[in-house]
Subunit: 371 residues, 2 copies
Amino acid sequence: MADSDNNAASGAELTPEQLEALLAVRGEIDRLDGEILQRLAERARCAQKVGEIKRGPLYRPEREAQVLRAIAERNPGPLSNEAVQRIFREIMSWCLALERPMKVAYLGPQGTYSESAAGKHFGGAPDLQPQQTIDDVFHAVEAGAAEYGVVPVENSTEGAVGRTLDLLLSAKVSVCGEVSLRVRHNLMSKASDLSQVKRIYSHSQSLSQCNDWLAHHAYGIPRLPVSSNAEAARMAAADPEAAAIAGEKAAQHYGLPILHANIEDDSNNTTRFLVIASHDASPSGRDKTSIVCSALNKPGAVHALLQPFADKGVSMTKFESRPSRTGLWEYVFYVDVEGHRNDPAVTAALKELAERAAFLKILGSYPIAAI
Amino acid sequence: MADSDNNAASGAELTPEQLEALLAVRGEIDRLDGEILQRLAERARCAQKVGEIKRGPLYRPEREAQVLRAIAERNPGPLSNEAVQRIFREIMSWCLALERPMKVAYLGPQGTYSESAAGKHFGGAPDLQPQQTIDDVFHAVEAGAAEYGVVPVENSTEGAVGRTLDLLLSAKVSVCGEVSLRVRHNLMSKASDLSQVKRIYSHSQSLSQCNDWLAHHAYGIPRLPVSSNAEAARMAAADPEAAAIAGEKAAQHYGLPILHANIEDDSNNTTRFLVIASHDASPSGRDKTSIVCSALNKPGAVHALLQPFADKGVSMTKFESRPSRTGLWEYVFYVDVEGHRNDPAVTAALKELAERAAFLKILGSYPIAAI
């Protein structure tokens, strides 16, 4: 039999004592698995009981966030908090699906970051429904074809996703959750290695996000900001002395070998997604509230508009202005604040804001992403 | 506050009795979660002990397959077998990653079916490394840059993935696992609905895979087989009276609205992937063995080549011929049989085959996909 030596499974070199110890540990694992399995069954029956008591959607974003936070707090190790949270995300996902699988629309096709975000937020059980456009995701949720939708809202390198913001302004949906996904940068070039590279193209934000790595590994090579990471990859593809910093899809698209992967300084470099539904979430203890509002276009109007948050001690975590497409106001402002709209300080600030604003829509309160 | 009624979280309409019952069940869930968490920690410490006893790779495909099968057999419900297997896949994935995350190369970019297959087989913990080509996946495993690689090998609609087969013939890697992913078909057209459609294009295999659906919903509309599903989509994009049956990515690529999704008759319509490594797997009790061999090009040679399997009662699950690229033989044959190469019947059949074949390479024995 040719090549059979290549195929020998390793690990056959255990002594009899080691083998005995190994089998003992495996027996212990089997016992624990049986105990876990038993408790998963009990947990699933509890989930069914919740379904009998409650009407309406079984999925409660605030409850899931609370469970995931409690898991991290009670985690005795040696598994990481991320590990136990991911495992419990999967457990909750399948317990919820017992009644019937949830339908979650996302910006397709299959295999996009939005699909990864939907999986991260809802686990493996839901029926994920890819949609061709962001509009289609909103329509699916508005029409009830899907209970939840997942749409990108901001990207560390590319900025806000305008279409999502525009649709949030007008659509009859609420925001009931957020998801963050890590974004990775890669140095790509037709040059065989970095010593052959004479210039590095990328979006200015990406260049600054890789600053430490570039200082250590590409000292003295000029960095040239361009309009987008895709444009940088296109330019590097046409110039063998150039490199680009961009995502992996750009490397694939322009046939650029990746010389160094994951060179971003901050491993928390993320893209943010919102989960939309017909309702938002109840308070979980650690929440955000998203609103969109507008002021009359006169000096100081924006400052005055936001004054109630400062007065009530409510922290703003995001402020984004965007030209209004309706023609009624010049700009609309997308604001995220810490806290739930039912928290007294937030309620009071929103009440005052409503009196000052030309327009106010509360997009929803939802738990701060737990994983 | 405009629109605040739209945002009211549902579920606030519980009676005090219902609320009390709900809180009691949630308390029970919290208790169970604590017990599960405790056992996950014990299980993780067991995994660490296994690491201390054994040298070499901790990941044992046969052991994981056995655990997943045992979980399904011991599953008391109400969770489905798929549900408990997916949860335990995640548990094993994170326990294994305690020592250090496994490196798994796959055919990128991120978001391909190969990535989904890698996630299905290895869970969420490993360090997934996208590669630009199938060759790169093989190189990564051969060079030790990744311990495992995931490559597509056959597609229900498009047939074998030739490059993977060619590389298996020559590369110094073994097959240590398989993964199946469901493939979905969609009816897409520029027509507003099916009544406007005068002809339906698709690959003949896809047409036959949607036969029931077409008989019920598209009775009398001519079905025209073309060379590929992508070609069908291209043709439908140019002809508003035509529809195509194809995957969602084709709909996206050609801007074709999907009129009906998931119309395949057999929900087990799948794409198959192989997991490659420096070693194959030990027997798990339910295994497959993949080989590639060649016969002299004379009448009856292929039949004679395969005779040993029939003689020893070894079932063939796949037989695929492919023109040889080396010039030494006209054809090579890729054969999958049931059983492990260490099973006496398989060992005996392979020994006889080795005597008859002009060339034989045992690609590896591995567990039949458990999930």
